[in-house]
Symmetry: C2
Subunit: 415 residues, 2 copies
């Protein structure tokens, strides 16, 4: 089954606006085996909108429109959809009464313009909206399902989940899609590809796609089945093979990011942590404290941006900084050891590097980062050279530092 999504509103056609509703609907439809073959964003213009509805209804089994159901003259979704299928609209008495009651509740008089929110396409079923004044509509025309939903995600989502998805799923009759995302932090996309391609190419269901991100690679496994259980079992079969080919490399299969995974491991093992950051400037600490519960393991963080702060707070020997440079394996080790000692924690991480764009030399280029770990999980140190701009270098350094800790927590050798 094919679906198309129409997002209505001139305000959606400015740079920088992303399509929250379309992405939400696409994801949910995939899970019931319905593929979105086109999505369109249209300005508030009756002719344009009518043409968009006609086009979508000529191609797709299911058409879902969001937005344009408000009371203003720019809200034209009802009229356009009715025109596209050659039907009229009627003013629904019970919707009108509901609108009046809603206004009365807030002691306001309803302006006549609002009455248009009670207009319903001939033959359409009203989809109640408990969070706003714009009701949705559902109409079947020439074997195709058409849904009109309000634009605010907070109103649209529960209506879609409760009133649209079950109808579409029933029509789609049985085919269920499931996706699992495997995340890897310490390998390049091509290394991951090389390790798993010979395996996943022998599978047609699930299908596999590889996505590369700064600091991690994702394997998306999508399987179809007659039930959720069957789809999940198919995914698990392939995922098992991937785990064997990427031993210890997959840090998450359930959507969690690396700081969340590391935080959970520290809590489980009742270990305390301190971080000492130079070029990442607090990014590791900020990421570790993004999920709730960090107070159980994070004792403190040091943002030792200056040389003086490395000496004062972490007890790094000024002569060592002078001799080896602030960006060096020796100083990274000394920072980690100093953080462990002064904070009195089980484990400490340290990062020092050159995030750029300035400050690089032929010997120590932009992107050079030293990562160190000290404490009860053993000492580790790594020299890395990350590509990209300042933001990417800092993000990759924070990922590599957390991955170093994750591997130590699991008793895996350094990557």
């Amino acid at each position: 089954m094919k679906a198309e999504i129409i997002a209505v509103g001139s305000e959606l056609l400015v740079p920088g606006r992303s399509e929250t509703n379309a992405l939400y609907i696409t994801g949910k439809l995939r899970e019931v085996g319905v593929t979105v073959t086109a999505r369109v964003t249209v300005a508030d213009d009756l002719e344009l909108l009518t043409s968009a509805f006609r086009g979508a209804l000529s191609r797709a089994d299911v058409v879902i429109a969001t937005g344009g159901l408000g009371p203003t003259e720019d809200d034209l979704t009802r009229e356009a959809a009715a025109a596209a299928i050659g039907r009229g609209v009627r003013r629904d008495a019970s919707l009108l009464e509901g609108l009046r009651a809603r206004f009365a509740r807030y002691n306001r008089v309803m302006a006549p313009v609002n009455e248009k929110q009670a207009d319903v396409i001939e033959g359409a079923v009203v989809l109640p909206n408990v969070r706003g004044t714009a009701a949705g509509q559902h109409v079947e025309t020439e074997g195709r399902l058409l849904f009109l939903l309000p634009g605010p995600p907070v109103e649209m989502q529960p209506m879609f989940d409760g009133q649209v998805l079950p109808l579409v799923a029933e029509r789609a009759a049985g085919a269920v899609l499931r996706t699992r995302v495997l995340r890897i932090a310490s390998m390049s996309e091509s290394d991951v590809e090389q390790a798993v391609a010979p395996l996943y190419k022998t599978f047609t269901n699930p299908g596999t796609t590889i996505l590369s991100n700064p600091g991690h690679v994702e394997l998306h496994l999508t399987a179809e089945g007659t039930s959720a259980e069957e789809a999940e079992a198919r995914i698990e079969e392939l995922a098992r093979g991937m785990r064997e080919r990427l031993p210890g490399r997959i840090y998450s299969e359930d959507g969690r990011d690396l700081p969340t995974v590391v935080g959970a491991l520290l809590r489980e093992r009742k270990l305390t942590l301190a971080v000492a950051e130079s070029c990442t400037g607090g990014l590791v600490a900020a990421r570790l404290t993004e999920p709730a519960g960090a107070s159980e393991f994070l004792e403190r963080g040091y943002v030792t941006y200056s040389n003086r702060s490395k000496v004062d707070l972490l007890g790094v020997d000024p002569a060592l900084i002078e001799r080896a440079g602030a960006v060096s394996e020796e100083v990274a080790r000394a920072m980690a050891e100093g953080a462990r000692r002064t904070a009195g924690v089980d484990v400490a991480l340290a990062i020092t590097g050159i995030a750029g764009p300035g400050g690089g030399t032929p010997d120590k280029p932009v992107g050079l980062v030293y990562l160190a770990m000290a404490g009860t999980l053993g000492e580790r140190v790594r020299r890395a050279h990350f590509p990209g701009d300042r933001e990417r270098i800092r993000h990759q350094a924070s990922q590599a530092s957390l991955e170093m800790l994750r591997r130590a927590l699991l008793g895996l050798p350094a990557a």
Copy 2:
């Protein structure tokens, strides 16, 4: 003039993919006065694609398609566009020769399938692609401009800038759009609206829209003119009035974010800074070090997540924490004063609060945050109660702390 954008490719219709190309093109077209009235993303399906081209060409003056120009059987943009306008395709001899030469350069034999990349719609002009094998095409049909461009942004963008935009701009003949964004960190959307609505409602050009974000509000002023200078002058006239109505409140008119603005002020005044963070967990330091150049002013940061670290590193009196609680005005003040003293800096910021979701009490609910400043710019302290989830609370706290510092740097009273 109206434009529509068609993004081609089934891989674009999965959840989580954003429309990089469409957003890029929308922004550039706005600058030459062309409004994007619809954008559509279509799967690799000849029938769907042909229908999408027909629809767009029936509505818009300019239609720009990206993607689907590769050599595989899924690459159907050429065929679909030709079918939609009722023309054939011809195999272009010089494109074919260029493809063969490209393969020869890498010592590879060109498979016959690649020849299709030399297919050009009858009457179309070839748009060279210096960064890849997929050439673009430009054809005029019934007074409408149709462009086919490759999908990879690195190939598409220079072709669009160099070969498409000048043609469209010439056709749009003179109307130029410019946008300026005014940013405000310390006021609610409704307070900003109340202050400036009486003014901007007297203007039709520029038009004004208000966007609310967690931690800041944006005023988007968009003006049309016959030249860039005229559009800018119109914007400046309205912006001047807004500055009068929002004295000292606008922190940026040039796209810079608050940490960048504060960093520049500190550098100008040659002041050094330390930050002491509890609930924000390093977020303020991480944001201040995102732009390059932070080493000129940021001496260090303290992520004092535990009570012990507040005592050890900042010299906060344990009895004070016991008496007033870690989340209190007194402790915030003591943290700022301790950070200033131990770091030996000109100014220090401190933040302590309850980011949630747990840890709230009736007296000290989730979202309660104390912000303090100590040092040569004077002492300031603020109690705030931020709405939203953990992420929003932390972000708003970091914004409010930076705004406190910005106002002090400019000699403005506390907000």
